[in-house]
């Protein structure tokens, strides 16, 4: 509320400004810690996967070995939706929400619950994609918060996704598709009639709907990233021209 020229109004404004500055300092400190922690986490994942493959020579069993770490760090990312919601990060809550939801879904409701797909190549595909993407993304945010952004991180953030996104989607879709027969056979997460809630749910058809929903959703996220890329790189060009 706007304060008029009353006694103490100027002091009130100063205290409010101080409060705002402390709040943003706390927010910056927390976000810096968060992004450093997430970068470290995904680096650990990357190293663990590389080490397993070098030692065992096969990708079978990689998922099992990193499952716990993956679940921990991927679930932690739910906080990012909170960051957008309270405004300390200026991204749309819906875009972040959709991204995080799809990750949580893949980790907890596909690879975690359907053991038979855990050794599929498509799982390795999306794990590698996620690892590369997340390390780039979180280190980008970290450096940005520390006001020292090396150009190659910025380049990676706004260019790697062009290849990574589609590859990740392919990995995810192939994994869900591979899971379908096992879901159908086991009838997992499904509720049949009759029951006292008078509702039914078929996980098998739900997964098919999820796969179909990639068709409208993926292009939207992809073009959102492309637009961001154009804005960042385009902005850069204008600055150079002035100089």
């Amino acid at each position: 509320m706007a304060s008029g020229e009353e006694d103490g109004a100027v002091e009130e404004k100063e205290t409010n400004n101080k409060k705002k500055r402390t709040k943003s300092a706390i927010a910056t400190a927390w976000l810096t810690f968060y992004n450093i922690a997430m970068t470290a986490g995904w680096l650990v994942l990357a190293l663990a996967m590389a080490r397993y493959y070098l030692q065992k020579g096969t990708h079978k069993g990689v998922y099992r070995s990193i499952a716990r770490t993956l679940k921990f760090f991927q679930t932690f990312a739910v906080l990012e939706v909170g960051h957008c919601a309270i405004g300390i990060v200026r991204t749309s809550v819906i875009v972040t929400g959709v991204q995080v939801c799809s990750r949580i879904f893949m980790v907890w409701f596909i690879t975690n619950s359907i053991r038979q797909v855990q050794n599929q190549e498509s799982v390795i595909l999306f794990l590698v994609v996620w690892t590369v993407t997340e390390i780039t993304r979180y280190s980008f945010y970290t450096f940005k918060l520390l006001n020292h952004l090396p150009y190659f991180i910025k380049w990676a953030r706004y260019n790697l996704f062009i290849v990574m996104y589609p590859l990740g989607v392919i990995g995810e879709l192939m994994t869900i598709y591979a899971a379908l027969p096992y879901v159908r056979r086991s009838g997992m997460y499904s509720l049949r009639l009759p029951n006292k809630y008078n509702v039914s749910f078929d996980y098998y058809y739900f997964l098919i709907i999820v796969m179909l929903s990639y068709i409208p959703l993926f292009p939207q996220l992809y073009f959102h990233m492309l637009r961001q890329r154009r804005r960042v790189l385009h902005g850069e060009v204008i600055v150079e021209k002035d100089e």
Partner: protein, 308 residues
């Protein structure tokens, strides 16, 4: 009286769209919109948003020219609101859908359930009762839309009819499928549960109707002055003492009754989603009441007494 000049500019690119000279100072915004419509056939008055400021709030149709802070030359900024559709049409379409959809499921029209159930009727009496209640609710809404409601704003964007109909019709399908399913399970507490739920439902339907009638009688036809609704002799309106938008309260109550009556999760979902939406609407209405009237009763909450 001296005549005024009216200039209409595009709000986005400030280009001159129309210059009207010899406009009476007693002309209303609606008159100006009609004049604008004459020269631009595409933009009928309901589609026009005229503001004093390119980023300002739209002026009301009944505002009079000489009462606005303009000189003898008035400049208005125009924004196209897009194709419009009347509230009445939207309400009717979104209600007729669920009415017929539910009946199709109730009569077990072919291709919904297994062929051996085609055109059979449920053996549970609660299913018949539910059909009666659901149909009654939507028939009541249709009749209210035709004869009771007075819409202060005539139109809404065309896009809304698709959004609204999708919502109502899809939920109607989801609810009707399970309630009228051959494998439907009647409520756990049997007759007691159904009778209590029916009581709640009927009570809230009567309440909702009373509120709609009260709101209609609040102002004479055509008048756009806003008034605070107060409790009347009708006991169902006494809730006005505690709530700003009892029409929403009674609506949630009706659907709560229907949920308990049918003991069906999709109905519960519909009730919850409806409750969330109506709470948002009630809060907005409550806020505008507070802004408009300094003497607005402080005891009132938007939708739930004392709570929300």
């Amino acid at each position: 009286m001296r005549q005024c000049e009216v200039e209409i500019l595009d709000a986005k690119n400030k280009e001159k769209l129309l210059l009207l000279d010899k406009v009476e100072p007693s002309a209303t915004i609606l008159d100006i919109k009609s004049m604008f419509h004459k020269s631009n056939q595409r933009w009928y008055p309901a589609r026009q948003s005229l503001c004093l400021d390119p980023k300002g709030k739209p002026l009301k149709d009944e505002d009079v020219l000489h009462q606005l802070p303009v000189g003898t030359t008035a400049t208005f900024y125009f924004r196209d609101l897009g194709s419009q559709i009347s509230w009445r049409t939207v309400f009717l379409t979104e209600c007729i859908g669920p009415l017929f959809i539910y009946l199709m499921f109730y009569f077990r029209v072919p291709f919904i359930y297994a062929p051996k159930y085609d055109f059979t009727t449920s053996k549970h009496w609660v299913v018949h009762l539910a059909c009666l209640c659901h149909s009654f609710h939507y028939v009541k809404r249709i009749l209210e839309t035709l004869f009771v409601h007075r819409f202060c704003q005539g139109t809404m964007p065309l896009r809304n009819i698709f959004k609204n109909c999708l919502y109502y019709w899809c939920f109607a399908v989801w609810m009707a499928y399970y309630i009228n399913h051959p494998l439907y399970t009647p409520p756990y507490y049997g007759e007691q549960q159904v009778k209590t739920a029916l009581g709640i439902f009927v009570f809230c339907q009567l309440g909702s109707f009373s509120i709609h009638i009260t709101l209609r009688n609040l102002k004479p036809p055509g008048s756009k002055t806003k008034k605070i609704p107060y409790p009347t002799k009708n006991p169902f309106t006494w809730i006005f003492a505690l709530v700003s938008c009892p029409n929403y309260t009674y609506e949630v109550g009706s659907w709560l009754g229907f949920t308990v009556m049918t003991q069906c999760v999709p109905v519960a979902f519909f009730t919850i989603v409806g409750f969330i939406q109506m709470t948002m609407w009630a809060k907005g209405k409550h806020r505008s009441y507070l802004r408009e009237f300094k003497e607005y009763p402080t005891l009132r909450s938007p939708i739930l007494p004392f709570v929300l």
